[in-house]
Symmetry: D2
Subunit: 343 residues, 4 copies
């Protein structure tokens, strides 16, 4: 933390700032310059809320120097994390594909889609049990009765089950019947839920919030890791902007940005990231080309009848084509592009 | 819902759309035109996910005609809602002022601030018991031990207590010791929490999410009301934009926009809405001038030592000046500006 | 400028950074610390593009300390600027009202509106001669033949004429027939046009660009002032965000933010800032309450027949009501709120 | 255009709307329904400003049905446009690479970079003669004396010259000495400049504005085409959002979105789109993978000494590696991905 005083700040104004620094238990290092004085701060364990200094007389600017996260960084863990789920991996040499319907709607729907997912070589099956919906009057998921279907799919197809925990009590159920806990974009800063997931032994797939900066997203991962669960997978799914040709604006630059800072694997969700079926395959190719470790893709046997997010679901044959294309892209990627030396 | 077919759509493409409409239990009304056919849809109870039609062959555009909310609207409740909390009101003829520190830090801090709040004539005292913080390493609130302090303040000053429920279990505690349940911006779409608050008998103050459209915000209120709790107060607290001179961009146009659609009272939070103390008073005046029913303001006896959000807290004397100024503005407001006929 | 090296940066990496600083003609001040070295930079006349250092080996972060503008600041001009246009002022003790139709459409339309404007006590008449329109197929303004109408209005009503220069050649015409040169939001970074306006003797009203940060807006003003024209009026007219209940999101916090940095007067345009007639009056009151020096308001004798921006125009009687309300708010403003000591 | 009346709108309110429709020369088609009346509008040549109806009594909503552009669309020109510049093409089977320094700084710099560009097989050399800069105090380009250098490069390397016209007078100079006229993001709605470029015989590369919707961008292209110049190349270069890990947020979904609507070629600029050198290559791969027709890339022989945008320039060897990687991606693209049947 660095506090820059105004050119005409008085000595007593500088002293008052030093006093506040001392009062909150830190050390002040005044550095007088030709035209203005800067004051360095040290001695803090975690981040300091430096904005407290902004309104003190004579202060021109407060500049944060250190980053507020630790466990997510390459500084503490220079090797890339490979999350293992049984015999499948996320962040390793294979592309991790998580595919399935938006929500489990019926046994027939789920089985038809799961068959297509297995056939494509994917290892993970997604499907919401509980759906967080913007309107209280729309389909909210089958709820607990979907678990029976999920269990059968897991047994029949050998797929790992990824599903979203919408509240803390769901985590226990996913621990019992599933393989990966998903935290959705709307809950990225539901800190109670993050902490509960942090106490689980299952990996956590953490979607980026709709208006989350990279720092906020990494700090949400830090919440999970601070509880002891280091198996976190980040998922870019688009952010909210003024643009209207897509439901969200997929921010693929977040992938190299995370690679620079963090050892955690990162995947891309082109289905939610665009909201429109015809864009999913081009953006899936782009996600792999930018260096993501995998993809989350929505597939439905009859998209036009889907009970949620019908506009973004691919048919099984469109999905099979997507898988073929992303493997082709992955095969020509430079060696470092999917690893830590990418940049 | 209106589906507009492409100019060259074939009759069989139009029929296929009609079939899907029928398959999901609705009625189709094809309307052939000179250059293109439009198909109206009726028979729906709640909203339809019209985006399912977007990818069908021959479809040019899908246009939503009706709004997805009901209980929040003036259509169903043409009189403005006045929320009563004991002998105080929000949405009535008085300005509702909710003031206090960001978080309860100590008995001395809370009492000093509460005294200033009471002296100003305000009826509501705010102060977080539990703080949702972006970083796991910063002050998270005193937790349950703050209730003792809150209870004493309620008794000593006769102020109504407003505090945020960060998880479902908090709602019961607020019902026991507090007066108004606050739902924070980060939890605006934590639907489990909204439903729990909807089953409470206490009023709910619902902050706008950081990237929430007006419709999403009103649908979050609809979640609470759909459970039977009609005492909802909306709170504009700024949204996330590219602008960097404030922490959030306070969107005061949301106040007249809500007035046009909804009977619910709406207040403005210039403290979180700007994040900077020197802006709070000008924006508080603007909030009252635009027609808000009240204000939420952060006050601290020693802002520079506050454990959270120190940059935006006013001192007791700055706060007293703010109250004077906003009353002066309110006194010259045209009769209808705070009511339903404002626009 | 401050360059912070990584904790494990080597001495030779630090030296390489120092060499680049020297190579571009500046002075480097390395400051070794307990865990990392910071390097201060001095000797620059204007701003430095500090991002050049970001990719050098060993560099953790580049921190800008000084602001890139000069002439707009209170540092150089501690007294607030009052722009004088004949016997009228902007930035002084009166509220500056600039009102009129979006575009001059006909003699009858312009005269009807001008009469209402004069009657309200406003001193400035606005009306576009040339309209920058998003689509090439919509009304583009009457062009040069509107000058005849403008000249008659100026003579008949004694109003000062404010009109937008869409290209450099327009500036000369405004100098001949008008009183204030407006630079529109779309042209805020049309630097050739800014420089041309900077060489004019007429005051310049500079609208904020749709996605302009405060700094970019002030730098656009700096372009005008750097050419010698110090009579610049800033105009907040809303920015582009994800919100859809308004055409733009009016960012009223920009008014106190500018007051803190700059001596230039600032007005608010609630017509373009909301895009919807029913919101204009509430936001006009808010604009005055936040401390703006004036307002720009669109008025049309028959809004529903207007050739451009019809949804946001007020009728003459709605406008008269607005003027009454904003004067009432202004009369109760605290003494400093419209001046430099406001905050 | 469709106007939806409120459920309780009276017959005379509906008639008043019909009267306005007639008054502006169009035809009204009232369609009474069970609960409300809708009124269709036909007879318009160009787009109608439907917002004029929003404030009429009884109107609930105004819905636009047709799009405001024509010449850019596939409806009018079902084959993809291939822009030819001498023996090079943009939009055809080859990847169009436009590379070079941000600005021409010296003969030596320009030649060193041009040599690397030629060696990579690229056909287009970029380099600003005039630089639109946010601050008046930073390097503004060499201006006219850079033409001598450009002319030598064109002769020596056989590269086509792409440079930005910052004002109308520049267009004539580019016609004399260059090959492609670039319109920058800040000037995307400088309609005078667009019209001037539209009267040129040279192709125009049109960058997307910082806050431009897809529709506004296409309408800017429509301005150029409406003057008779059909050789327009669109360039996605990122938009402004709240995100801070990049200078702009590259919106790659705009590429398939444009393909669906327009026959114009579209390229991606990962240099301005990210603002940071280490991200350029991953996003260049992603740009090709999403289906773009080419790339614009900034290259500098000594990025750390560049006079503008130094943080985003690649070295010649980084650039050579990028070219190799994007060709590898292009070679595995599905046949339709670069063409009109992509989606």
């Amino acid at each position: 933390m660095l506090i820059v005083m105004k050119p005409r700040a008085t000595a007593s104004e500088t002293e008052a700032v030093v006093d506040v620094i001392t009062a909150i238990g830190l050390r002040a290092h005044p550095m007088p310059g030709a035209t203005r004085t800067a004051i360095g701060i040290t001695g803090n364990e975690g981040p300091i809320d430096g904005r407290r200094f902004e309104n003190l007389p004579g202060v021109a600017e407060v500049i944060r120097v250190t980053k507020p996260y630790k466990l997510v960084t390459l500084d503490l863990h220079p090797d890339k994390t490979v999350v293992r789920v049984g015999d499948a991996t996320i962040g390793g040499s294979e592309i991790a594909i998580i595919a399935g319907p938006c929500a489990i709607e019926s046994r027939e729907q789920a089985f038809t889609v799961a068959k297509a997912v297995q056939k494509s070589g994917a290892r993970f099956f997604r499907g919401s049990i509980w759906k967080p919906r913007t309107s209280p009057y729309t389909f909210q998921g089958l709820g607990d009765k979907a678990w029976q279907i999920m269990t059968e799919i897991r047994d029949a197809f050998g797929l790992k089950v990824v599903t979203e925990a919408v509240e803390e009590s769901h985590v226990g159920l996913i621990e019992k019947y599933g393989d990966v806990i998903q935290i959705g974009a709307r809950n990225m800063q539901n800190f109670s839920l993050l902490k509960r997931a942090g106490r689980s032994k299952l990996p956590v797939l953490l979607k980026r919030g709709m208006a989350a900066t990279l720092e906020e997203w990494l700090l949400a991962a830090e919440y999970i890791m601070a509880e002891g669960n280091y198996n976190v997978i980040l998922c870019e799914r688009g952010v909210r902007t003024f643009a209207q040709h897509t439901r969200n604006t997929l921010d693929l630059a977040s992938v190299p940005a995370i690679r620079r800072i963090s050892h955690l694997p990162v995947i891309v969700d082109p289905s939610h990231g665009t909201g429109t079926a015809y864009m999913v395959t081009p953006l899936a190719r782009a996600g792999i080309a930018v260096g993501a470790d995998g993809l989350m893709v929505e597939v439905h046997n009859r998209p036009e009848l889907a009970l949620s997010d019908s506009a973004q679901a691919l048919t099984p044959s469109q999905y099979a084509q997507l898988i073929e294309e992303v493997h082709a892209v992955r095969n020509v990627m430079p060696p470092a592009a999917d690893g830590l030396n990418a940049n």
